[in-house]
């Protein structure tokens, strides 16, 4: 009788303080107490339906240890939301509540979505210019280093960070699973402390405007992998369900199924399909989903993949390459690993800053996105940025900030290749906005010319006026040219300027031109 009474009492009480006002795309959390015996991670099903009257969203709850269950919800609209729980435990079922969702605070634009086929935008329509970096284990470090990483990111151009959920360090502060006295992991019991910590860091990234591109599996650190690689099917599903239930309400989460997925042992091709499907089914908000390759590629055209996450430095190492994947995959192409800025004696870790910045520009004019990484042999805190965060030592980040600023004042629907079959150094928006990039070439002048790809044959016409800025992408200067160029008649598909006008260039490498239709092009404001 006493046990029953306690259970009844617990079932009526939402633990913790009443939720503070929740903003649109913020995290609402309901806490409930329930059974702590047996194995609540496995035995208890908990979910809730949230409705604002015209849409209903079902979310899974999760066990957070100590008899506490939580249900998180990211409201996609402002106004009054109510909810009702369901559970296989009567004391967790039928709980109801409500809250008011307020306007998003400045800087909160909602989750990022695919936009204009090959690009991204936040839920509120603000374009998302993806300038990512990689810090695999940054959230598994001591607090002082993690705080330093956040501080570094705050001063950096990076708006996305690739980070592992399963630690890739030998001795992380927390593991996601509980261990016994011998250090053996229990595949049926998660470690709430691990997740509390991770969630705190993800929220801090959100507050700083950084996307958390969460890598769910990876092949690194053999000791731990002999556990994580070999979860059975039920273990894999339990892991994915739990992670999505806990983290999907954070607006800045992206799901990256794996790093170098083909090297994750004991998982088959159909396992990866299944993992995508589990996440697609569980995630009420349909956060972005991708998977990262080594030698073997996963087909990004599969319907559950939202964008291609590609490791291939060669694809952005010269003109005319980046664009090609777009032809076979009408989704955003993110070259999330293109080798790293650094000085180590590995072929993937010795790019000059100039080379890495060039790869970003080559990807950009190809209508794709490029990611940053850094591995110096004597990093500032003794930690490689890309392994574990800390401080940046390289010279590329300010130049990537320059690129980001250029893109943020560019076409709202993203940079498209202009004429991929014939003119591979142009990107932009036909008729309105062009970036012309010269890479390592150092021309002293450039004969003005805009190509017209036949499919866009109405974009240009003789007589149209254009303004030119000379961009020094390395020295980060913008020099307007004091002249308006007027298109002459085309030769084949190419429009020179009247009088065969030229643009004077500084004779240095890494120069680009920004050519905009005058005077009526205006970029988007953030």
């Amino acid at each position: 009788m006493r046990i029953l009474a306690c259970a009844l009492l617990a079932s009526l009480i939402l633990t913790g303080p009443a939720p503070a006002a929740v903003e649109q795309w913020g995290v609402f959390e309901a806490s409930l107490t329930g059974p702590a015996d047996r194995n609540p991670f496995v035995d208890t099903q908990l979910s809730a339906d949230f409705t604002n009257g015209h849409q209903t969203i079902s979310v899974h709850g999760f066990y957070d240890g100590g008899g506490v269950y939580r249900i998180r919800f990211m409201p996609p609209e402002q106004g009054r939301w109510t909810y009702r729980t369901s559970s296989n435990h009567p004391e967790l079922a039928g709980k109801t509540g409500s809250f008011d969702c307020s306007a998003p605070s400045p800087g909160n634009h909602g989750p990022v979505r695919v936009s204009h086929v090959y690009h991204f935008a936040y839920a509120d329509g603000t374009p998302f210019v993806c300038i990512g970096t990689t810090c695999y284990a940054w959230a598994h470090e001591p607090d002082a280093i993690e705080d330093q990483t956040l501080a570094t990111l705050k001063e950096s151009p990076f708006d996305k960070v690739r980070m592992c959920l399963i630690p890739s360090l030998a001795d992380p502060v927390f593991w996601p699973y509980q261990r016994d006295a011998d250090g053996k992991f229990d595949p049926t019991r998660f470690n709430p402390d691990y997740f509390h910590h991770l969630e705190h860091r993800i929220q801090q990234l959100a507050d700083q405007g950084v996307q958390a591109d969460l890598i769910l599996f990876h092949p690194y650190k053999k000791f731990a992998m002999s556990f994580f690689d070999r979860l059975d099917d039920a273990g894999d599903d339990l892991y994915l369900h739990y992670v999505v239930a806990r983290l999907a309400a954070y607006r800045n989460v992206w799901w990256s199924l794996a790093n170098e997925y083909g090297q994750v042992k004991h998982k088959t091709d159909s396992d990866w399909d299944h993992f995508f499907q589990v996440i697609q089914a569980d995630d009420p908000y349909q956060h972005l989903r991708s998977i990262h390759n080594a030698a073997k590629f996963y087909d990004p055209n599969k319907p559950w993949v939202t964008h291609a996450c590609i490791q291939n430095g060669s694809a952005v190492a010269d003109f005319g390459r980046a664009v090609l994947y777009r032809d076979l995959c009408p989704k955003p192409i993110v070259y999330d690993e293109v080798c790293y800025e650094g000085d180590i004696d590995r072929r993937w870790g010795k790019l000059s800053a100039e080379e890495l910045v060039m790869r970003f520009w080559l990807g950009t004019i190809g209508g794709t996105y490029v990611g940053h990484g850094e591995v110096y042999s004597h990093p500032p805190l003794g930690i490689d940025w890309t392994a574990g965060g800390g401080k940046l030592a390289g010279q590329s980040p300010p130049r990537l900030a320059f690129l980001r600023a250029i893109l943020e004042s560019g076409p709202a629907d993203g940079i498209e290749p202009i004429d991929e079959f014939y003119q591979t150094h142009y990107g932009g928006k036909a008729g309105q906005y062009y970036l012309v990039y010269f890479g390592k070439d150092s021309p002293a002048r450039w004969r003005f010319m805009l190509p017209q790809d036949p499919p866009h044959k109405t974009a240009l016409a003789a007589g149209m006026p254009f303004h030119v800025d000379v961009l020094d992408t390395w020295n980060m200067t913008i020099t307007p040219v004091d002249k308006i160029y007027t298109l002459a008649k085309p030769i084949d598909s190419d429009f020179p300027a009247e009088g065969d006008a030229t643009v004077q260039l500084p004779g240095r490498p890494y120069i680009a031109l920004r050519i905009v239709h005058w005077p009526d092009f205006s970029g988007h404001d953030r």
Copy 2:
């Protein structure tokens, strides 16, 4: 009564002489007489089951005009085959017969299939090195020109020709449909004369060892297109069923659904899916199926596409490009149009022969295949080779013959990229055979080095001996280097030769090296 008796009599007689001996992958043909009234193209269903005891193959027959019906069959195995017909007309149903299938004659290797994921082989296992050309309307010309085209092909390196089924000329000798006195086409009545002629030419190609890459739809010549573009769904299906019934028995047929498919008006994306499915269902032999793009690409990963047929000159215009489509499409990649050798004032028709040959080599080392085209402003017979065949005027064909000979003595399973992420000028078979291509560079010496892509980390080891030939791909010479190179210890993933040995080069452009494991690499014999 007389009519009935005639019908009965006709139904018992197979018209024409008894079939000659049919060789494996040759064409067996049974002729039957049947109803000629109403519209036999639409009203009569005819098929036959062929069996050799352990496999049964169902094929469709077709109406060939004048009360004659035919059933064609390409026997895939030697020995005795028997058949029985089915029809909705009693006089065509239940006919039986048999024939003996003999060994294939020399040069008959059967139809071409996909082999080793990215490559091709004939049904008898002989590798097919795809060196294609394009002559859109060659089979719609007067006989003298067509005979000249066949003679030209016989002396050429080309083993595949892209050719339109629907004429792209304003005044072809034959149209595939019957016309009324006003020249109006009847979408329900085909013109047997057109097909007799086409079949004769296809068989002649087969006899010469040339694949007929048949283009079923295209957007050219507006007059005729206002008919062919606008067949209704039933008309499209009738066309496809008829073409497959007539032509599938020719071993050298490939189905190319369209040229520049996105520009074929009045056909939707789902139409193209459906057309593929119709052919896939009708064709008993599963000949290769593809579709050719202009600006818009069709997803070659769709299950009914056997290989990618790509128009994109840029993809083979420099190193490191061709390979990229392979990453997203694990099928043979055929760059069937990469601009043409020629001198006309259009950007797609003014490649130098040197440039076109280079594009073949760049495609080859990327593990892909490239196609030839030629448009000179003063062609030999007044006909552009690529528009209508005739005579070749360009300088690339002998160099493509040189390439073909190199490939025919190379690895039987095709040229694979060796290390696409870091060393884009190597192709071959790891550990056994390498082609190193220098393009427009003119080095005077080359420091011997073989890269080892980490996924193939057992292919190379210090101490392995290699022999080198210097290939001048333009002057068509093979110069053996009088030295055996022995691998030294690797530096990162690259193996130099002992003593840091170098190879002397002629200091001209378009040089390649052929590096083979010594002495035990041997290519395949044809």
